[in-house]
Structure formats: C-alpha cells, structure tokens
C-alpha cells in the first residue's frame, strides 16, 4: 500500500487547487487555466498510481477488509443526546472494483474537460474555481463508503454544476440550470430519507464495545447489524424496505437518467458549455448507476432480486425509447444527449440480469459510455465553436473541409454504434450475454437488440447529414481541428480502441468485485465463505 492518504489527495486536490486559484488575479486567465490543467493532470497521475498499486483479487463490496486504500477515522461523534443516542459519522474512504473504473474515468474526463475549457472567456476565474469544486464532488462520490459522506459529496457536486450551466450556458441556461438543480435535488430528498431510515436501523460495535447507530454503508449491508425495530431493518416485520428501495432507486434513476425522469438531460446538455456537457455525460450520469450498484443492490438484496425484471424493463425502454427519440432530433447536441439515454439503458439492462457477465458489462459500459460520449460532445463542441450552429440540416459536406475532424468523428460514431474493436462493443455484448443468460430478462434482452439497429440508424444518418454530400459553401472557411483539439481526441480514441482490443485491462479490475457483488446480492455469499472466500 501507499504511504500517504492517496484517496483523500485525489479527492481534495481540486479543492486545494481551487483555493490556490483564488489567489491568482483574475486577469491572468492563462495561469488559471494552466493551474487547473496541472491539478487535473496530477489527478490522472494519482489515478494511475492507484491502478498500479491496485490488488486485482480483493473483492470489497461488503467486506471492509478487502477494500483498498482505506482511510477511516471518526469524523463527527456526538454522545449523549437522550432520544437520539450517539451520532457518529465516519470519514471513510476506500475503493474496490466497482469504484476503481469510475475513479479512472473521473480523472480522465476531468483532464480532457479542462483542455476543452481552454476557450472559456467569460469570468475565467469563477469558472475554473467551480470546475475544480465539481471535480472534488465527483471523485468523492466514488470513494466514499460512509453514507453521510457520500451524500455530502453527492450534493456538493450540484452547486457548481448549477452555476456552470446557469452562467456559462447557452440561451436558455437559467431554465436548464434550475431544472437540473431542482430535479436532482428532488431525487436527493429520497436518498436523504432512505439514508436517515437506514441510519436508524443500523448499529455498529465500536472498539470499546458500545453499540452505536452508524452511516457506514458496509455495516448497513450486514443484516446482523440491523436494529430489531428499525424502520428499515430486515428483522422488523413491518419494515418499509420496499418503499425505501423504490425511493432511493428513483433518486438515483433521475441521475442516470432513466425514463421517465430523463427530460432534464437534453435541456441541461443543450445549454451547458461543451466541457460541462462532457463532464455531465462522462461522469455525472454514472453516479446514478453507481449508486444503485453500491447502495441499493447490496443493502437491499432481497428487493433487488424481486425487481430484476422491472429494472431490466426500464433499461429496455431507455435503450429503445432513447434511440427512437434521438432519431427525430434536429439538433446535434440533443441527438447525442438522447443517445446517452439509450446507452445508459444498456447499463440498467446489464445490472438487471444479476449475472457476472451482465454486471461486468454494465460497469464496463459505464466507463465506455463515459469516454465515448465525452468524445461525442467534444465533437459537437468543435463544430459549434466554428459554425455557431448545431442544426443537423445546416451542414453538409464537412468531410471535404475538415478531413481529420471527420476521421475522429467516424471513430467516435462507430464506437457509439458498438462496432467491434472498439470498447463499446465489448460492454454491450457482455450486457447482452448476461441479460440473455437468465430467464427473467431474456425477452427484454432480445427486444433491446433493436437498439443496436436504431443506434446505427441515427448515427450514420447524422454522419451523412453533417459530413457527406457536397460542401455547403457557407462553411468553406471552417478550419480543421487544431493541436489542442487533437490533444483531446487522440487520447480518447486510443482508450476506446485499446479497450476494444484488450478489454481485459478493464474487466480484470472489476471482475472480482463484480463476482462478489453478484453472489452477495443473489444470496449466495454464505456458500462463498464456505468455499474459502
């Protein structure tokens, strides 16, 4: 293990950067940008260090000792409130195979988004300060193992996002920002309520032998820790676990976004500046599915098993509905936004199968969607920067004018279509292998394959409308991609193709944890312990 608290560092480094940044005079926008770039670059390096020291065989999920890079100490401890007992919140960080890919993704996407933020001109200092704050919030969500801490990070991310859309956004930015904020907050209430319910239903034995209520997520996963009469205790015959599950699921589903809670997404995407769209699609959406996998699944395994078909159904709806609606869009960015809805459906479908292949595919799809959609939004950004329009029918023939750009577009589009040799194919294929493999979701999986077809439909049609045909003379002054844009496209393309050819690089990271999760949620974990786990 590493000698320094690396998870805290990777999480709070952006905040340190933000504080440093506040000392830079606002005229020196170059220094501000380079500082942010340096911070995010260090974050990438830290993520790579994490990966290099990562133990591929440690499961995590429900077992504290097999989490890695743990940092745990008592954070808030108030004793002796008569009616409440002791309030205890831990500062508890750690990662396993579910969060490691997300940490990598967050670091990469933040770095790329910083490069993409280079042409922000309006109040640069404020922008990058908020940007770094957002970065901390995102990273924190993926490393926190205490529910209270998780919730703080979850909410922390909302505030900068609100301002980043609301100030640096497009013409309807206020509407989009408020919609995003309130919608997510609405979901957060459910999560908060469930969190409190779980708190009052879970106890933990401290070192000195006292039993206290706790926000520890891992403690909540063990039925032995539940209080006999807690509102969400499995021991309590009148518990409200089912309702709590649905409530929290909705809270996370809004973030995914799952039909019918998805309509904030197109608005937010269309209005947000390019780098923020990149972060939104690249990282924020993953928090929803991550939350479900990290919290809903292992804390409420019995309800998860009951609802597999329903989760799969919503996955299927997302896939097909998102694709069909994307087909009808006339705005490039909106089309990509709806394609996100469709692609996140695969994650849900894979999760719903509760098989190794399905869940591995789901998490891999989260990562791949992060990189692929980030690239797609960057692509929209490039053309919007130059032409100041995103209408699909306003272009034509750009392939002759911007050949290198078109090359990257082709790579990204085919990655989104799920072309083999690119990462998206592997994750989608695993999702299908998993969801077809169990009877519950088999029919859903068969119907969902239509998404493969529709995806090809809207993507290729877009490619044709914007890039093929005779060049629209209006655009004969557009420049091809510059070096800065290449610096965003090349690494993403390399990741996409590398993981398409050698997916094990990512799958091996998550495999052990996914197996454990699947077995834990399926109720097989006892037999695993007997088999020497």
């Amino acid at each position: 293990m590493i000698g320094f608290p690396i998870l805290s560092l990777i999480t709070f480094l952006p905040i340190i950067g933000m504080i440093l940044l506040l000392f830079i005079p606002k005229e020196q926008s170059k220094s501000i940008k380079y500082l942010t770039l340096a911070i995010t670059a260090v974050q990438v390096v830290l993520a790579i260090i994490l990966l290099a020291n990562y133990n591929y065989n440690a499961a995590g999920v429900y077992e504290e000792k097999s989490f890695q890079f743990i940092e745990k100490f008592r954070w808030i401890y108030i004793t002796g409130i008569s009616w409440l007992g002791n309030v205890k919140v831990d500062y508890f960080l750690g990662i396993d195979g579910l969060s490691m890919p997300m940490v990598l993704l967050t670091a990469i996407v933040s770095f790329i988004a910083t490069i993409s933020s280079w042409n922000i001109e309006k109040s640069v200092k404020g922008y990058f300060a908020l940007f770094l704050l957002l970065d901390t919030g995102m990273m924190g969500v993926f490393v926190a193992l205490d529910f209270f801490l998780f919730y703080i990070f979850w909410e922390l991310m909302l505030l900068p996002m609100y301002f980043l859309i609301g100030i640096w956004g497009g013409p309807r930015k206020e509407y989009a920002a408020i919609k995003f904020f309130i919608y997510t907050l609405f979901g957060s209430i459910f999560i908060l309520l469930t969190m409190i319910g779980l708190y009052f239903s879970t106890t933990e034995v401290l070192a000195d032998g006292t039993r206290v209520l706790t926000f520890n997520l891992l403690a909540m996963m063990n039925p032995a820790n539940s209080t006999p009469d807690g509102i969400l205790s499995i021991a309590n015959p009148n518990n409200l676990r089912f309702i709590a599950y649905i409530a929290m699921f909705v809270g996370f589903a809004i973030k995914i976004p799952m039909f019918p809670f998805h309509t904030w997404l197109p608005d937010a995407h269309v209005e947000a500046p390019t780098p923020i769209s990149v972060i939104l699609a690249g990282v924020l959406l993953k928090m929803g599915t991550y939350g479900i996998l990290r919290i809903n699944y292992p804390i409420f395994p019995e309800i998860t098993r009951q609802l597999m078909w329903w989760i799969g159904l919503f996955g299927m709806i997302n896939i097909i509905y998102g694709a069909l609606v994307a087909l009808a869009q006339k705005d490039f960015k909106k089309l990509i936004a709806y394609s996100s809805v469709s692609h996140m459906g695969y994650v849900l479908l894979g999760m719903a199968s509760l098989t190794t292949a399905g869940v591995n595919g789901a998490i891999f799809q989260m990562f791949n969607h992060g990189t692929i959609t980030a690239m797609l939004f960057l692509i929209v950004g490039v053309v919007y920067d130059r032409a100041h329009t995103r209408g699909l029918y306003d272009f034509g023939g750009l392939a002759t004018q911007m050949p290198v750009y078109t090359g990257f577009v082709t790579v990204a589009f085919f990655a989104a279509i799920g072309l083999p040799s690119m990462s998206g194919f592997i994750s989608e294929a695993l999702v299908f292998v998993g969801s077809f493999g169990v009877e519950t979701t088999r029919v859903l999986a068969m119907i969902s394959t239509l998404g493969i077809l529709l995806g090809a439909g809207y993507m290729l049609w877009t490619l044709q409308r914007i890039f093929f045909g005779p060049l629209n003379e209006k655009w004969n002054t557009l420049l091809d991609v510059d070096k800065r844009e290449l610096a965003m496209f090349i690494p993403l393309s390399i990741i996409i193709i590398f993981l398409g050819v050698y997916p094990s690089a990512m799958l091996n990271i998550m495999n052990t944890s996914v197996n454990t999760l699947v077995n834990f949620v399926s109720g097989n974990i006892n037999s695993i312990t007997q088999n020497g786990f």
Binding site: L324, A328, T356, F436, G437, F468, N515
Partner: protein, 697 residues
C-alpha cells in the same frame, strides 16, 4: 513446414493488410506514394496464402486450431467462469478462401492503380481496401462465432466506407448507409442466435459447440430452439449475402467504385454469408434447412426477374450476384454443401472478372454505365470482350467452364432434394433461374459488345484498357475454365476440388431433427467410397447419382434456350424487346422497378420508424417533459395561492386584529373625555347594571 509455422503464416496474412491500413490511413496524405505499400503488402499476403494453401492441402489432412483466452470473467463459484477465446482454425475451406480472397484482393489492388488514377482520395482508397481485406480474412480464419461476428461487423464498416467512397454524391452516401443498416437487421438475428448458443454452451468456439450438440445437449432442451438458433444465425447471412428480404442494399452498393464492387460486392464479402452457413451447416435442423433453401430459391428467382430488365451494366451484374448467392444459399439448404462452396469459389472468379470487365468498359466509355448507349465494343476492346465472354459462359453454365461444374452440382442437388422430400418447387425455381441467367447475361454481352455502337461519340473515344487492368481480367477468366478444378469437364466429382478438398460434413444434431436422407448410417461407408462422393447417406448418394445427368441435360437445354432467346432478341432482332415490354407493361415495370420493394420498405419500415421517432419525440416534449414542467408549474401555482392566502388570510388576520384593536381603541377613546362628571355618570350606570345582574332577589 510445421503446424506452428502454418499458424504463424496465417496470422501474418491476417494482420499484414491491417498494418497497411493503419500506416496508409494515417500517413497517406503526406506520402501519396504509400498506396504502393498496400499493393506490395497484398502481393506478399497472396504469396503467403498460396504457400499456406498448398502446404495445408498437401501435408496436413487434419484441421489446425490455435487459440488463446481473450476475456475471462466470473471466477466465483456458482457463477461459473466465462472464457472468451479468440483463435484461428485452418482447414481446407479456410485455406481455399484465403487463396480466393487474397488473389482477388491483390488483383483488384493492381487494377485500381489505373482505375482510380487521379482520384483525390487515392491513398485513402487503398487503405480502405486493406481494412476490408483484413476483416474478410478474419471471417475466413476464425474458429469461433463471436470473432466471426466481430469481423462480420468490420467488413460491414469497410463496405460502408467504400460504397460511400465518393460521399459527395448523395446517392453514394445513401447507399453506404443503407447497406450498413440493412445488414444490421440481419446481424441482430445473428447476434441473438449467438446468444442462444453461448447461453447454452458457454463458449463461442464452433467445434466445442458442435461437440456438445453431438453429445445431446440441445439449447434450452428443445429442438425448436435449435432450429431457431440456426435460422437466427442464418439471418446474418441473409443480410450479408443479400438474400430476400434484405437483398435491397446490394444493387445500391454499386455506387461504390467498380473494383470495390468486384472485390466486396461480388466475390468475397457477399459470399461471407454463404461461408457462415457452411460453418454452421452441421447444426442446421431440417426445418432450418428448408427455410434456408426456400429463402435462397426465392432470392435467386426475384433477382433473376429483375436483372432481365435492368439497363445499368453494374445493376445487371449486381442482380445476377444476388441471384447466384441465392443459388449458393439454396444449395446449402438442400444439403449440397460441397457444391455450394464450390460455386462460391467459381463464382468469385467469374463474377470478379465480369465486374472488373464492366469497370474496364465504364472506364473506356468515360463513366457511361447504361448499356443502351453502348454496343459494338468488341472491336475496340477485344481482350475485355474475350474475358467477359468467358465469364459469361461460366455464369450461364456452359460446359468446359467452372460455372458449369458448380451450377450443375447445385441443380442436381435441388433435383435430388425434390425427389427425396417432395419439395419440387425448389428444383423448378432453380432450373428456371438457370435459363433466365443465361438469357440476361447474354443480353448484357450482346448489348454491350455486339451490334452497332449507339453512342458514336463515346464509342469513338473508347479504347482497350491499360495492361494493369487487363491482366487481372485475363487471370480471372482463365480461372473460370474447368481445368483448374477437375480433369473431367462434365464430372466435378472426379476433380480434386470435391474429391479431396471439400467434403460435406456429417451433421451433429439429433437424428430426429434432420432430414431423413441426412441421417448417415455407419455401414454405408463402403458404398460412399464406391460412389466417390461423400454425402450424407446411401439414399442421398443414390439420388444424387440419379439426378446428376438429368440435371445436366436439363440445365444445358435451359442455358441453350436462354442464350438462343438472347440472340433472337438482341442480335438477330427476330423479336423486338421494346414491343414485348410494351405488351406486358405491368410485368415489365414490376421487374424494372425491382418489385417495388424499396418503395414498400420506405413506406413501411423506414417511415414507420422515423414517424415513431417523431411521435415519441413529441410525446417526450409534451407529455413526459410536460409532466415535469407541469409539476413545476403546479408548485409555483400552489405557492402563488399560498402567497395570496398568506397576504390576504394569514396576514389579513394579523392586520385585521391590528385594525380591530385600533378601531376599538379609537372608539373607546371617545369615552375618555377627561371630565369627572362624565365619569361619575359612567360609574352610576355601571353600578346599576351590575346590580341588575347580581340582584340578590
């Protein structure tokens, strides 16, 4: 030569074109001469594939498999381990295909040097050819169905890129898009089929799957699922090999450069579907085979009827390709496995020759493709004419050509199938199509090369094509002669191709799911040897024997009739084709407009999907988002109401009580006069009232 060397050579053959693609696509713009690298690579790959083919066929009777584990997930108990292997399998079919693909690809590379000369994306073109060759070789070499699917999609992409190579033309980019999407429809079926197999057998490797089926493991323990798996995987072939109802993309794909049409859309990629079916042949149940036979027969018929009236030289060839692919598919469906593969190979050569020949004509005529504006070209382009004619004879099934051998076998197969199962419609269609093929192919030859030139301006400028284009034609036409396949021009079975290289494999599925004639009986080995044919059962062997000469004479007669009719119409002008067309206008238009299938699809599937999308988009905006905005509005409305309530009721009460106390105070103040007399009067009154209330009585 050792096995491992053979494997390494095959892997080299596979990856060389990919390396070429990567280098040329990235650096091609800076170094325009890089196309020579591509051409060189393909030449090397061809030589290697020659070596591989000869050594495999001569020294390695057994199949060679080499594999490694690509993905391993799931190591926990109860979940089982999922291993996904990648690997190659080198058997006779593989090496023959390697040879065919590399030869034609190489010839097309050389041909394109001239044909594409002066194109502004010249090096890009060659890099795409490299990508295609890589993907196609992947399909050929793979030993498992997932990898097949992977390369299947990759050929789809290279085909997309090459069809839409001249993307400035809307028709070209439309055609590319159509090809990709229509193919994806088939691929979905194939993918589900693969999922069925994987779910049940936990592997993608063909041989392991077949082994398990042989041991009696049936998908979901039901023969219906076995049939379904076969048909679903076959759907992939329906897309790629342009079978009805997904054949509509192939004629449109002629928008691509002609050498591409020759390589991809005639000789190799479209044959991948047939190749796929040969790979899964052993798990096809009787029901699945019947479906395959019917689809193939119907496709070959539809395409032939359309080809008769087309006027674009490439369109005629495209429909003839569809028709011939239908033949191969049908042949697999009726169990004539070896002949299907044989026809795949012979067709690859003569159809590539025909396409490259048409390219030569188009090149000479300055991009004129309408045969009504051609004529008389045989004097100007003797070599092109000669090769084109040989290939036409081959496709028409005239003796001494390769096409005669393979086609005859297919026809015999259908005839035998008719006799054995009673499905006589299939041989009837097959023979009809044979006659039609001869007719429309000679129509094409006569209108293009014979008679008087109809466009004198273009004719005067026409010239024989340069050597780089003509030599490939000669090589391919030479390969359309029987001698390469068998010493006996009327007996393909005596040839080395069928006798020792390609044999029909025994099916692995349970006996009750097979056609009865596909159930082999062990003790018939001897008879099989006697007949010199490896087929499924004695009964089948005998029926094939019975069918052989009958089919040959019938097909000869029909081909002769077709050719004769073509001469009567277009050379000797005994009949007037235009008048006939006028007479049967309905039928003529039906054929000319390709059975109106494109219109039908546009009106139903395409616009249906688009309209659903539009409808859902509206639903999304108005209803789903409406609900969100509505609830926001409701919240604001409620807050406004409570605001009003607050102002008028809650605050009203407060104000009212203030007002009331003020009012009361104000009025009571009037009593406070400050005069003692008044106060005395009040007191007196008060006392009286109090006394009245508390009166003691």
């Amino acid at each position: 030569m050792s096995e491992s060397l053979l494997v390494n050579l095959s892997i080299a053959i596979l990856f060389l074109p990919l390396i070429g693609f990567a280098i040329v696509v990235i650096l091609g713009k800076r170094f325009p001469k890089l196309y020579l690298l591509e051409v060189g690579i393909l030449t090397i790959a061809f030589i290697l594939s020659l070596i591989v083919m000869f050594s495999k066929l001569s020294y390695f009777p057994k199949d060679i498999v080499s594999e490694f584990t690509w993905i391993t997930i799931g190591n926990a108990p109860l979940n089982g381990v999922i291993n996904i292997d990648l690997g190659i399998k080198i058997d006779n079919i593989t090496v023959l295909m390697l040879f065919v693909v590399n030869l034609i690809s190489m010839l097309v590379h050389y041909y394109s040097i001239e044909y594409m000369h002066g194109d502004k994306r010249y090096t890009r073109y060659f890099s795409y050819l490299g990508l295609f060759t890589f993907s196609m070789l992947g399909i050929v070499l793979t030993h498992n169905i997932l990898m097949m699917y992977i390369f299947w999609e990759l050929v789809g992409v290279s085909s997309y890129l090459l069809i839409g190579f001249w993307f400035e033309k809307k028709s070209a980019s439309d055609a590319g898009k159509k090809a990709f999407i229509v193919n994806r429809i088939g691929d979905i079926g194939m993918f589900i089929g693969i999922l069925i197999l994987f779910t049940n057998y936990h592997t993608f490797t063909f041989d392991t799957i077949f082994e398990q089926i042989k041991n009696g493991v049936i998908p979901f323990s039901s023969n219906a699922w076995l049939t379904a798996a076969g048909i679903l995987i076959f759907m992939g072939a329906v897309g790629k090999s342009a079978q009805f109802p997904l054949h509509v993309w192939l004629p449109d794909a002629m928008e691509g450069p002609t050498p591409v049409s020759a390589l991809i859309h005639a000789a190799t990629m479209v044959a991948a579907g047939v190749y796929l079916v040969t790979r899964i042949f052993v798990l096809l149940t009787a029901d699945a085979m019947l479906v395959i036979a019917v689809v193939g027969a119907f496709t070959s018929f539809i395409a032939a009827t359309i080809a008769i009236t087309q006027n674009d030289i490439k369109k005629v060839l495209a429909y003839s390709t569809v028709s011939q692919l239908g033949y191969m598919i049908m042949s697999l469906g009726v169990g004539a496995y070896a002949f299907a593969f044989f026809h795949l190979v012979t067709h690859a050569f003569f159809k590539a020759s025909l396409f490259l020949g048409s390219g030569s004509v188009i090149h000479a005529m300055h991009h004129e493709q309408d045969i009504r504006n051609m004529g008389g070209l045989k004097k100007k382009m003797p070599l092109t004419y000669a090769t084109f004619l040989i290939s036409t004879l081959a496709i028409s099934g005239v003796p001494f050509t390769s096409g005669f051998l393979s086609k005859d076998g297919i026809l015999a197969g259908t005839l035998a199938f008719g006799k054995l199962t009673g499905h006589w419609l299939i041989p009837i269609i097959a023979f009809t199509v044979a006659g039609m093929t001869a007719f429309y192919m000679f129509r094409l030859v006569l209108l293009t090369f014979h008679g008087e030139p109809r466009d004198h301006h273009k004719f005067d400028h026409a010239h024989e094509s340069p050597k780089l284009m003509v030599v490939p034609l000669i090589i391919l036409a030479t390969l359309s002669i029987f001698i390469w396949y068998t010493p006996n021009p009327i007996g393909a079975n005596q040839g080395w191709f069928l006798k020792s290289w390609v044999k029909t494999p025994q099916q692995v599925i349970p006996n009750e799911t097979r056609f009865s004639f596909m159930v082999g009986k062990e003790n018939h080995e001897v008879n099989v040897e006697e007949h010199g044919e490896i087929v499924n059962s004695l009964e089948y062997t005998e029926t094939m024997h019975w069918a052989h000469y009958k089919a040959m004479f019938a097909s000869l007669a029909l081909a002769g009739l077709g050719i004769l009719l073509a001469f009567m119409f277009y050379a000797w002008k005994k009949f007037d084709a235009d008048k006939l067309a006028e007479k049967i206008k309905g039928l003529y238009n039906f054929s000319l407009n390709k059975w109106y299938l494109d219109e039908l699809y546009d009106a139903t599937a395409v616009s249906g999907t688009l309209n659903t999308g539009k409808g859902l988009s509206l639903f999304d905006q108005k209803i789903v988002d409406g609900a969100v905005n509505g609830s926001a509005w409701l919240t604001r409305f409620t807050s406004k109401l409570s605001g009003l309530f607050d102002t008028y009721v809650v605050d009203g009460l407060v104000n009212f009580s203030a007002f009331f106390s003020g009012f009361v105070g104000l009025n009571f103040r009037k009593l406070q006069t400050g005069k003692v007399q008044t106060y005395i009067v009040y007191v007196v009154f008060a006392v009286i009232i109090l006394l009245f209330f508390f009166k003691p009585f």
